[in-house]
């Protein structure tokens, strides 16, 4: 075990104790103090993180119960997320086309101010996607960001706002894996969230993801062309289109 891991664990030799806790941690069978210590350890030890995930996958096997969820539960979930419930079953299993998607996530009033900020350069992908970790499963997120930043073919921009001194840097690697370093953005009330938008080559503005009220390093993927990114502040859980331009952070490529 490395000295670095010992340091993160708190005291030399604690890594053995923390390793022994991984099974209990995976089953939520530790107290709050131990949970925090284990999570600090996992953040710097991909092997331990992989072990926890393996334990959870085993627990998944134990949890196969064969029960059906209650009939009306889906309707309640649908009500809570605020849209009419599609019926459950094969007939709902459609993906809208790119054209339809562009209309649904379209430009609205958010567009003019983003387009003003957007430069002519185009990052060469075709729209849209959310959240994928790049690279190997065990590679820490910070390393993935470092790799993207070091790649001369990556595109970078800084998202700034006239209403704030805070900024957020964004990088998109040649494969379309995007990262927003959003830890400097001020924390929002719990009933608000940051939302990421991208301007695609057609000029449409598409939601790329919800960051929550206190973002850190956030990830997204794109498969197309974006000329600019923007982060808006929305009421939780976010909006489908027409983002709020007030205080938005904008960066053009």
């Amino acid at each position: 075990m490395s000295a670095e891991h010992d340091d993160m664990a708190g005291r030399p030799g604690d890594t053995y104790e923390l390793d022994e806790l991984l099974g209990a941690y995976a089953l939520d069978a530790v107290d709050d103090d131990e949970r925090r210590r284990v999570e600090d350890y996992l953040a710097v030890n991909p092997r331990a993180a992989a072990e926890v995930q393996a334990h959870r996958e085993v627990a998944t096997m134990l949890a196969f119960t064969g029960m059906d969820a209650p009939d009306d539960l889906w309707s309640r979930i649908s009500d809570e997320i605020g849209e009419p419930a599609p019926p459950l079953g094969e007939e709902l299993a459609k993906v809208i086309s790119m054209d339809d998607r562009a209309r649904r996530h379209g430009i609205g009033r958010i567009a003019p101010w983003i387009m003003t900020a957007a430069a002519a350069a185009v990052i060469g992908f075709v729209a849209i996607g959310l959240t994928d970790r790049a690279d190997a499963p065990d590679e820490p997120l910070a390393s993935a960001v470092d790799v993207a930043l070091a790649n001369p073919d990556s595109a970078t921009t800084q998202l700034v706002s006239e209403a704030s001194d805070s900024t957020a840097d964004a990088v998109i690697d040649p494969d379309g894996n995007g990262f927003v370093l959003a830890s400097d953005l001020p924390a929002l009330p719990q009933d608000q969230t940051y939302q990421l938008w991208g301007v695609v080559e057609t000029g449409d503005v598409i939601s790329l993801g919800i960051f929550g009220p206190d973002p850190d390093v956030e990830t997204f993927t794109i498969e197309g062309s974006v000329t600019a990114l923007a982060i808006t502040i929305e009421d939780a859980p976010g909006v489908i289109s027409n983002g709020n331009p007030d205080g938005a952070f904008v960066g053009a490529f």
Binding site: L21, T65, D132, G209, G212
Partner: protein, 192 residues
């Protein structure tokens, strides 16, 4: 271009959920709500509260799909981990904990180990039962009390009258042994 969500991978579903495609969430619900509800109900012994947990888990998936990383495991594992964590939180903060434990103790005294009754897939049930039976008794008891009882390893140790370190180690070794047995039996266990 159109395609069926029913043919989509879980990772693709989550990407679509991130684009506010409620039909994608519906498909994720169709695939995994039964397992999440079953786990929540087993932990909480309360139908209504189990429904609340499942609702919370799927609404969270809708609101924060970026929390799911397909590189790190299956969607089912992710949802069940959140279900388990939330249910355990409720158990530990619940003033009716004592009533639940007494009820559970009565159930265990009457029924003993019967995990196979709650496993829906017959083949998988057989594999899981066989794998659990190959564990040492102490490992099996520790895992059951921690996972299905919602106890911390310290509480499980107290319940079993064993040292805390012993129970902690048994949970870990038992999970490793269980995984090895399932893999040996040809069961795909997540991110192998």
């Amino acid at each position: 271009m159109r395609r069926e969500y029913t043919d989509a991978s879980d990772a693709a579903l989550v990407v679509s959920i991130g684009r506010y495609e409620q039909a994608a969430l519906a498909e994720a619900y169709r695939r995994h709500a039964g397992a999440t509800f079953g786990l929540a109900k087993r932990l909480l012994s309360d139908h209504a509260r189990a429904e609340e947990v499942v609702q919370e888990v799927f609404v969270r998936l809708w609101n924060e799909p970026n929390r799911f990383d397909p590189e790190r495991g299956t969607l089912r594992s992710y949802l069940l981990a959140h279900t388990h964590g939330r249910a355990v939180d409720l158990i530990r903060s619940d003033a009716s904990r004592r009533n639940r434990e007494e009820k559970e103790a009565r159930q265990q005294a009457a029924g003993g180990y019967d995990i196979a009754h709650e496993v829906w897939d017959i083949a998988l049930a057989g594999h899981v039962r066989d794998a659990m039976e190959k564990l040492q008794q102490g490992e099996r008891e520790a895992i059951e009390l921690a996972y299905f009882g919602g106890l911390t390893y310290r509480e499980a140790a107290d319940r079993l009258g064993e040292p805390e370190g012993t129970v902690k180690s048994r949970i870990r070794s038992g999970l490793k042994r269980l995984r090895a047995e399932l893999v040996h039996a040809g069961v795909s266990v997540g991110a192998d």
